[in-house]
Symmetry: C2
Subunit: 341 residues, 2 copies
Amino acid sequence: MLKSITRLVFGVLCWTALAAAHDREWLPLPAAPPEPADNPTTPGKVALGKALFFDPRFSPGGATSCNTCHDLMNGGADDRPLPPQQAPARNAPTVWNAAFHTLQRWDGRATSLEEQTRIALTDRAEMALPGTTVMLQRLRAIPGYRALFAAAFAGKAPVTIDNAVKALAAYERTLVTPDAPYDRYVKGEKRALSDEQIRGMETFAAIGCVKCHAGPTFDGATLSNGRGLLMKSPTYARAKVVAKYRLLKDRGRFELTKHPGDDHLWRVPTLRNLLYTAPYFHNGAVPTLEEAVRVMAKTELDQNLVDSDVNAIVAFLGALSGGFPEQTLPRLPPGTGMLPR
Amino acid sequence: MLKSITRLVFGVLCWTALAAAHDREWLPLPAAPPEPADNPTTPGKVALGKALFFDPRFSPGGATSCNTCHDLMNGGADDRPLPPQQAPARNAPTVWNAAFHTLQRWDGRATSLEEQTRIALTDRAEMALPGTTVMLQRLRAIPGYRALFAAAFAGKAPVTIDNAVKALAAYERTLVTPDAPYDRYVKGEKRALSDEQIRGMETFAAIGCVKCHAGPTFDGATLSNGRGLLMKSPTYARAKVVAKYRLLKDRGRFELTKHPGDDHLWRVPTLRNLLYTAPYFHNGAVPTLEEAVRVMAKTELDQNLVDSDVNAIVAFLGALSGGFPEQTLPRLPPGTGMLPR
């Protein structure tokens, strides 16, 4: 009974948020994301988090790092439809601008970068180490990490999973792209977008994409409880493309909670940097942005778009891509020739 | 008969080279390596080669790049004893300063970076694509590579394996560490080395390590025919450590040529950046630098070193490590959501 009320309230909140989103002005990405009071971003944490992000020694074979699937050079994701190890396997989302999301992961199970990073580090379906004990042993077996942790955190024994999580989250808060053509446009640089991109922006709003894909990262409105938006998808499940791209196979948040009300509920994904993150959708089944736009229009808005509208929207989505700040490669602390197992 | 004479001449040349090496002064790393007349280094080639080096989309699963095993952040190698796919499997050598080597690969089968890179790209035991046709299809399926190839090479159809090889070699020629403490010391900065490192340097020469590990990269003398040095190892094959570390199992160059005279013949590996490239030896069986020094002294010089000599030599080898120039991450051209197979 309580659950039903919760769901009802949630539904009303969604609706209110959607209505608000529709009227909302176009927002640029802020230069820096919010950070939690208990994990302010510091240069020491960022340096440590960057090394951890690129370090492949926390995977069983010693060749997979965060950056393998969330490749900063490749839009913060990879070109693979699905990663090999997860269950349920889902397309790797970009890490760029993840710091702005109020829900993390396709099923929205994490609500902060810290929560998300903890899952990534400790869930066997991700880095695939048998547990945090082995991860800690590996961290401690690389002498150079002691100095990096000590520079980032107070305390006598700073090499902990908690601190690794905080450092990774702090580093990820630096991975933002506030300088895409769209951002420059809405901040006043009127020539930052082409005429077709502007027409695409208008079409994007007019046909209703913006109902869900609102806000500076286009990942949905933030609800009044501070959480992000989960939406049912596909809404029009009988569309032929639903079968073609197997969009009903993975039941989304239901796979996690087993609540019928969560069936095919998904976090609204960001639309930033889509030029760099093909293939698309939770199962990576759709290879091109043109097709992704068509499929979304059909399955969520029951619309068959004409080519010129598809092209204009794709052009607009291109304007949400890029502006990556240059990254230097971190120097990983040298190992000692053996990874604890 | 001709082969016997060739081998005799080769032996004499080796001996002459060794004698010369022993008398040779300590050489710093030149600021830039030699480059072949038909592949001068240009900014366009370097930019293309860098993207290719970091791009994982030329492996079957789309997650393995050159940088996976030759990790620039991790001393140009990885921490794994052996890569998973090769036959015979051998420890990934560092790519840093490879441009100075006159022999490439553990068995010396390549004599230029171009030759080496071609093997890496096309040998199924390396990137493991079924052939160059698929590699070319993948290159051509990523539209952004067209512009990178066109900026680097003349011609109407510049996207070729030949040009990819040249670009990768050109990029690798930028991966040099001419600023290690040893280099600064031999160029006159007398305080660049500690007293123990200087003692280690003297011990290294006195006990005979330098007979093979000569020259600016310590990978052996260059013979008068311009080729690098191949040496038999282990020389003292009855030492207990030979069995312990399985040093006779892989027969080195013999595995390639099947010539009895090539049995257990190996390229002399560089000693630069050893602090970053544990574990050691062709099979990655030796985890620490201390043990590697002991094993080499025993198996090649029949000497049992005392701890103080081991420590001094290790300190000296530390002085051959580092001086890595900062690297920025390249931006990989976006894909189109499907890798040709």
